[in-house]
Symmetry: C2
Subunit: 413 residues, 2 copies
């Protein structure tokens, strides 16, 4: 393919790429072609070209053609960078058209064996159509009233199957025990045994009791994931019925769901990323979690699961890089609070804090819910583990005077 087109039209020198006029995407790949030839084929396919030269192509490529402008190849693997003209896109079309451009057909091209979108650089001219998170780390800390410490979160378990009154009672126990944040499991939507809004009402009653008794505000992220035509309506209703946070499974629904909700409803958005590993896990094919994280911050995710030292696959260095991005200055957008989740229990708190710092939600589901002394004790044990870590005291030492932590360490290892 492409033998019939002059590929050099789709190649540029680095110096000729004005970063304000292009969206720049970085790829790694496996295959037999050098980065210039392969990059030109991809740049053509993903902009003005196809497998054969067509009339008019030469006239518009100057303005609308993508360009490969940097790369490297060792005979089997390589990397390359492509600049896509911002002009080809309308930012109002948002993430779907951006993904079609930088992460569309190219994954299926026969000329490459594997290819992975590693990073994306978005110019201000495109960025300015997006608002980013409404709350961010600072906004969430203001609601919780926290400073100099992570937020402790929990996921109610069992994930599905609990009736709303029991579910709410579990929330009460976790909140009284000291968690800052409670969320539905990503599997819990609106099933007959736990209707979404009945659950919300019960949980918010329980958290109101907690506020009366302790003065503390605890966030509850109601899983509003539903089909596209209903997501804004469900988010609006959640807000009306007293929700103080919502959760969206943004990969299975579509990333622009976050923007749709954020533009309509004034509420923190907790973003779950389930299904991401279908295309992020292979380090040589698909899309990196960093790219996903950038797009999710762009469209307004206030919290995002990025991985933990725990049960899910993930590499600490990669998670650190993502978390660093989420908290860094980026065209003045608010930050996104990373969420560490998956198999966390008190013993893992020091390792997660060491690795990821305090601007994070440390979420323990089973690691709180399964505490032998009950949920309240489970929450206390997590809080105690956090206190010990922040004070630089070993958990074993701290456990001597903290029964809940001691039992947790003996139970969960």
């Amino acid at each position: 393919m492409n033998s019939k087109i002059d590929l050099m039209k789709y190649v540029a020198d680095k110096e000729d790429i004005d970063p304000e006029s292009f969206i720049i995407a970085d790829y790694v790949y496996s295959g037999r072609e050098n980065w210039i030839k392969l990059g030109a084929k991809i740049a053509a396919e993903q902009s003005t070209g196809t497998w054969v030269e067509v009339a008019g192509e030469r006239d518009i490529v100057e303005r609308h053609g993508a360009r490969v402008f940097d790369g490297d190849f060792n005979g089997r693997q390589g990397k390359l960078r492509i600049a896509f003209p911002v002009e080809n896109l309308n930012p109002r079309d948002g993430i779907p058209m951006l993904l079609s451009t930088i992460a569309g057909n190219l994954f299926g091209m026969k000329v490459v064996e594997k290819i992975r979108l590693e990073d994306v650089h978005i110019p201000n001219s495109y960025m300015k159509a997006f608002n980013g998170p409404k709350y961010g780390i600072e906004g969430l800390r203001k609601i919780i009233g926290s400073e100099g410490r992570p937020h402790i979160g929990t996921i109610i378990k069992p994930d599905v199957g609990l009736p709303p009154d029991v579910f709410a009672e579990y929330c009460y126990e976790a909140a009284i025990g000291g968690v800052d944040f409670i969320k539905d499991d990503e599997l819990l939507g609106d099933p007959a045994h736990s209707p979404r809004f009945e659950r919300l009402n019960r949980v918010m009653e329980a958290l109101d009791r907690v506020r009366e008794e302790t003065g503390r505000t605890v966030l509850y992220a109601l899983n509003i994931t539903t089909r596209m035509s209903k997501i804004v309506e469900v988010a609006e209703k959640a807000k009306e019925e007293g929700a103080n946070c919502v959760m969206i499974n943004a990969v299975t629904l579509g990333l622009s769901s976050i923007r749709a909700v954020s533009e309509t409803v004034d509420i923190p958005i907790h973003v779950h990323r389930d299904m991401h590993a279908a295309f992020t896990r292979d380090k040589s094919h698909g899309i990196s979690m960093l790219v996903l994280a950038k797009l999710i911050r762009l469209v307004g995710g206030d919290q995002l699961h990025t991985g933990a030292v725990g049960k899910m696959q993930g590499n600490v260095k990669e998670i650190q890089e993502i978390n660093h991005f989420l908290r860094s200055e980026w065209y003045g957008l608010k930050t996104t609070m990373p969420v560490a989740s998956g198999g966390i229990h008190p013993s893992l708190v020091p390792a997660n804090l060491d690795a990821f710092g305090i601007d994070i939600v440390l979420q323990a589901g089973g690691g709180i819910m399964a505490h032998p002394m009950g949920i309240r004790a489970g929450a206390r044990a997590m809080v105690q583990a956090m206190e010990a870590s922040l004070k630089g005291i070993s958990l074993r030492e701290y456990a001597k005077n903290h029964e809940e932590l001691k039992v947790a360490l003996n139970t969960f290892g």
Copy 2:
């Protein structure tokens, strides 16, 4: 992980699985665990369990727990089948929650190296919330007035960069030349140089001229892919302004976009699948195209790209299996018309017809647009290649009396 829970709760005998009460998902995997143990861990994670036994789990697992009930393992690779209780889901939440259940966190589990969702079986109790395609193959044939032959389609090239008047003129030429169907490229949304509705108006004027001159109706799939909050609005406006078909990049936007549009606007929906190969290409990890095709038919896709003998990666047997599904009886839903696209030109018509039959759209972009005698001749050459194939005449033979075909064969090989 999971060493602390009784995994046998998540295992069942095949005979105990009532297919009406479960969504059944088939996986293949690579790893070190046998299918029963791995399957039980996945069934737990994706339903009522977590990495540790929690209070109340035992009581609800009977009703809400998923179950592994079949499988195979050779020491390195295996397959397994899991039954997910329909009760855990609300069909009104649609595809996003279904995907979170059968294709969510499991892709990132450390206990498995790779895992791929191969197939899904949806019971009537869940299906009945969905309407499927509004038109299907029969409905599309009725609009076009076709019988006993494939539809010939084209994608206007260059993909991006043409102003609406030139774009519309290309459409006119292709339509006069004989194509049944014209579509925007998946990269063309609503850029400043080709505003979506201006393009639509120009194209529909051109196609009205074609109808006046020839009596033929040609479909034009306007790419309405946009962000979630606008997709229904854009679809409605397209219909109001005279569109006779719309196209959605359903993977980058989210599959339930199809349902949202289908429920609101009475118009055929052409589904592009760009980005799918980020998770369908590796045959041992991710999600199969067959699963995607099933879900797209469920939510109402009238046409779907499934692959071709051409430039994109894809295996003929797999495409045949998918196309067979799209056309087969499935709970009384209408069919979805497969679209063969990607590097097609007249020489490839016989091979595509042999492989996929006549209930298909054969789409040539460059293979029409780049014809040396012009677009009209390019369209004629494709139609001639179709006629020859249907008559069982070799293209070389037919080309003797068909100039456009002869030139195409000499040009494209």
